[in-house]
């Protein structure tokens, strides 16, 4: 007796392209981070930023004969206050800490990597999801605030466009740096709690260390160590605010390099993970 394999009349299914699979992971991660705490943080950020943009322009309209009218530097206020930065860091920690760490801790990363999804696909999708959240916190409220002051007639269109461009530029640099740091820490920490503390410690702690070191030594170069100071330096240049101590080009380069290096390190870290474990 001989065995004959069955004949299939249906053609094998066509796999969707890479990008499609990455999108699935991306959207799943965006939805996964949609929790009450993150919504509350976003709401707070929106409130703070909108108030900080609208109120100065409102009071400017009350001051008769204000020399030269509203200026681009008026839009700098959200950066000048520490509150917005603090909550963006907090949101990054809240959204980004568990994005890879949870998959590693629960070994559900096996679910992804046992499919035709590469480590890079996985990382790109996760980073993109974190970037979306940080974009909503960093860019959306500032652009919304600019639109509102334009709609209220507080600023002319050219100034509003200039401000929007500046917010977008500084925002992109911030997003790149924060996203890279978040995915690296999340891929390296054994638990999301440690990752959150590490993200916060690195971003907020570095600011304090750099500031104290500058106060003690008088060397402005130490401020480059702080991501917040780098963001402020680029924002000061973008919004024509005088008095910056750091070179904005250098600060921008540091932010881009930070994002690139951390993303690369995260990729190398993931490549060492044994996807199929006991």
């Amino acid at each position: 007796m001989s065995l004959h394999p069955p004949r299939y009349s249906l053609a094998p299914p066509t796999l969707r392209p890479h990008a499609s699979r990455v999108q699935v992971v991306f959207w799943a991660t965006v939805r996964e981070r949609l929790g009450a705490m993150n919504i509350v943080l976003l709401a707070f950020i929106f409130t703070v930023v909108l108030l900080q943009i609208i109120i100065p322009f409102y009071f400017a309209t009350l001051v008769p004969g204000l020399a030269n009218g509203p200026e681009l530097s008026f839009f700098y206020l959200p950066f000048a206050s520490q509150v917005w930065f603090f909550f963006v860091v907090l949101l990054t920690a809240s959204v980004g800490a568990g994005v890879i760490a949870n998959d590693l801790a629960t070994r559900s990363i096996t679910m992804y990597l046992a499919r035709p999804i590469t480590h890079l696909d996985y990382l790109v999708a996760k980073a993109a999801a974190v970037a979306v959240w940080i974009t909503i916190a960093v860019v959306a409220p500032t652009l919304l605030g600019t639109t509102i002051v334009l709609a209220l007639g507080y600023v002319p269109l050219p100034l509003a466009l200039q401000a929007a461009g500046a917010f977008l530029g500084v925002g992109i640099l911030t997003i790149v740096a924060f996203t890279g740091l978040a995915v690296l820490v999340s891929s390296a920490a054994p638990k999301s709690a440690y990752a959150a503390a590490a993200i916060f410690g690195l971003l907020a702690g570095a600011e304090i260390v750099a500031f104290v070191a500058w106060t003690i030594s008088g060397e402005p170069a130490v401020l480059y160590l702080s991501v917040e100071q780098d963001v402020l330096a680029t924002a000061q240049a973008a919004f024509h605010v005088p008095g910056g101590v750091l070179d904005p080009t250098g600060a921008a380069a540091i932010l881009i390099a930070l994002g690139a290096v951390t993303f690369y390190l995260a990729w190398r870290r993931l490549a060492t993970i044994d996807a199929v474990a006991e």
């Binding site: 920690a93 503390a197 260390v209």
Partner: protein, 260 residues
Amino acid sequence: MREALGRIGVVAYTSWRGSLVGRRGLGLALVAATYPLLVLAIGASRRTDIDLLAASELLYSALFLPVLLLLLCLVLGVSLFRGEIEDDTIVYPVSRSLPRASLVVGKFTGFVVAALMFLVPAALLGAAFGAYLNVDPGVRLEGLEATLLVTTVLATVAYGAFFLLLGLLTRQALVIGLIYGFFWETFVPLLPGPLQDLTLIHYLRAIGGNLVTTGPLGEIGPPVSLATAVGVPLTFALLVLVVSCLYLGRAELRPEASPA
């Protein structure tokens, strides 16, 4: 009584070990060591225009206490119970004949020992570097070591107790702890008026104001007496621990993925 203390000791020892296992111990050491290493780095620059002792005090007050110590206590303190609830290992100690209050006391004790193991040497080392690597080495500030020791211990006890309770109460303990530690304890003391009396760091910094006569630590007041500066954080910690014991005694410990 002896048996009860023995059981608390077992929990404390295991909690202490669990805090240091694997890379955790290394992580704690690195976080705490940031302070003395920074002082050492500044001292190694041999800058004659920097008063290293004052710099070490400033770094203690602006970095060690409100950032490093607080982060360390937050991560360890929250995970004392929240970590076990999330891992669903809490079922083991609570299914034994050990009173739940003993579990709180034991875990807290283990945490305090583990945290102080790193924080006290780091604080004292930072001050020692500040004194001996200074341009004028050997200039000692009277009361500095006592200030650092008392402040570090009290801060660890007070913050640790609060974060332990936070970990019992909510899944969002870490984020809420970060908001409390870095928003409430950082920004509120900068506001004028009585609001700063509601922060722990106001009292912790006042210890230096009472014990040290000069330098950044001594320049803070003293707005409150030493007894108040020590008593408030201690009383706070005690009250929070009592609340934790009472809460855990009545709390359900649902697994994170509750079965249908």
